[in-house]
């Protein structure tokens, strides 16, 4: 039982990160139909920038804010310089552009930062908390709590603000959105900025547990993508559930089968989803009346 709880907590922790990455995919996909494979790089920038800023003597809270702002700027530039000029291109072209952007960002990170692994001090010490025989790092609560806060804020943004609804309207019908006066270009920028900020927050929260380096974004993007696919691409609740499921499967797979297969699990999830449930858990066939 203790073992089971141990795996469950570590699965939920890493799953919360996948959920945030998947939410980043979802937001950009909804606003612009782009599947942004540079999503993992936002997580990397969040962690790495915080590490290097604190090394320069910047106090942690300020370093975190600056790292998030840095990721937002990168997100806006990505939209402006790579996605916007290719407006109207096919989705495959756009995906290749975002993969290219992610390789570029990784290369840039090697130059700006370095190629080492880095960590941050846990926010509330590293004395494990014992729950039912399983010991949990306090930082895990930061990760899960942070994810909950972000999900609640996003929910409020999309359901209770006019600009949040304008993002939903843009994803539902771009032509109509323009005709009611929504500046859809601005909405797309907003989506990239929001996704970048969410990714960066995830990166900051998880770095004390998983470490970070210039290339952590690659696997995170793939696992977040698996989570988004499992939940149903473009479905925010699906992204959260998908992230947690992928995280749990990974933790149980690594614990009960073999940790060698840990990284393979996300890919198995993608394959099974595509074969059995191409629209994902929460995706539904669209019905339209005429």
């Amino acid at each position: 039982m203790a073992e089971f709880l141990q795996f469950a907590f570590s699965g939920l922790t890493v799953g919360a990160v996948y959920a945030l990455v998947a939410l980043g995919f979802t937001i950009i996909y909804n606003a612009s139909d782009v599947v942004n494979f540079a999503q993992g790089e936002f997580v990397m920038i969040g962690g790495m920038a915080t590490v290097f800023l604190t090394a320069l003597g910047v106090p942690i809270p300020l370093a975190v804010v600056l790292a998030i702002l840095g990721a937002v700027v990168v997100g806006l530039l990505l939209h402006r310089l790579a996605i916007e000029p290719a407006r109207g291109a096919s989705s495959v072209t756009l995906i290749i552009i975002t993969i290219g952007a992610s390789i570029f960002l990784r290369g840039l990170a090697q130059v700006v930062f370095d190629k080492q692994f880095h960590t941050l001090q846990p926010f509330s010490g590293d004395t494990p908390i014992v729950v039912g025989g399983a010991s949990i790092l306090p930082q895990s609560f930061w990760v899960m709590g942070g994810a909950v806060v972000i999900v609640v804020l996003l929910w409020a943004f999309f359901n209770h603000t006019l600009i949040g609804k304008a993002v939903l309207a843009t994803s539902a019908n771009r032509l109509a959105a323009k005709l009611v006066g929504i500046n859809t270009g601005m909405i797309m920028s907003l989506a990239f900025a929001l996704s970048a900020a969410i990714g960066a927050v995830a990166g900051v929260l998880v770095t004390p547990i998983t470490l970070t380096s210039y290339e952590v974004g690659t696997l995170l993007a793939l696992k977040g993508f698996a989570a988004a696919m499992l939940g149903g691409m473009g479905h925010p609740l699906g992204a959260v559930v998908g992230g947690l499921v992928v995280g749990l499967l990974e933790a149980f797979g690594a614990g009960y089968l073999s940790s060698d297969y840990k990284d393979a699990i996300a890919f198995v999830v993608i394959l099974i989803t595509l074969f059995v449930l191409p629209t994902g858990l929460f995706g539904r066939a669209s019905v339209e009346r005429v």
């Binding site: 304008a166 309207a169 019908n173 032509l175 109509a176 323009k178 009611v180 500046n183 009346r289």
Partner: protein, 233 residues
Amino acid sequence: MLSVEGLGSAYGRIEALHGVDVAVNEGEIVSLVGGNGAGKTTLLRAISGVQPVTRGKVLFEGADITRLGPHRRVECGIAQVPEGRQIFGSLTIEDNLRLGAYRRNRGATTAFLEHVYESFPVLRERRQSLAAGLSGGQQQMLAIGRALMSDPKLLLLDEPSMGLAPILVDKIFEAITRLRDAGTTVFLVEQNAFAALNIADRGYVIETGDITLSGPAGDLMRDERVREAYLGV
């Protein structure tokens, strides 16, 4: 109020509008009739700024708006009810309407909402349901209501009768006449030439990207060529 001068527009290399001139004066209903693929929708989209223009000008209240983005034109007072209604199906009816007032002062939204609900009571009854669940006629009312939420000076309507039962078509056209009587200028594009010219002050006939006839709506309805081609007489 609206003046379109020598407007050209193309899809790739194929020109859909070959220099169109159209004018709409304040307080009028002006109808543009023509067959499928004549360029009616292209013209309306160019006026709203969601269709690229290759040459010519669009003037609104004397100002050149040819280069303005679509959201700025809504701000100027041009609203469009697009072809096929294009409602936000995954949002509630009330959210659809509130988004119609996206460019307007938040304080006035509630009053406009009340006004739209009075004109179309069925929308009030179902205001918290998803718009996708509405019938075709109700969706058309929602699309018109959404456009009215921006308090437009000029309302552009693209095929409001498309796909509706005749009794609903009458209702929609009655609603358009009431709007004009309440002071909104209307530019109406229709394949249903009889209904459109019947409520209009003036009309234009468009054929494959050129305006071929124009004049008072009554004259057009009596014109031999129009009767033969569009009125089925």
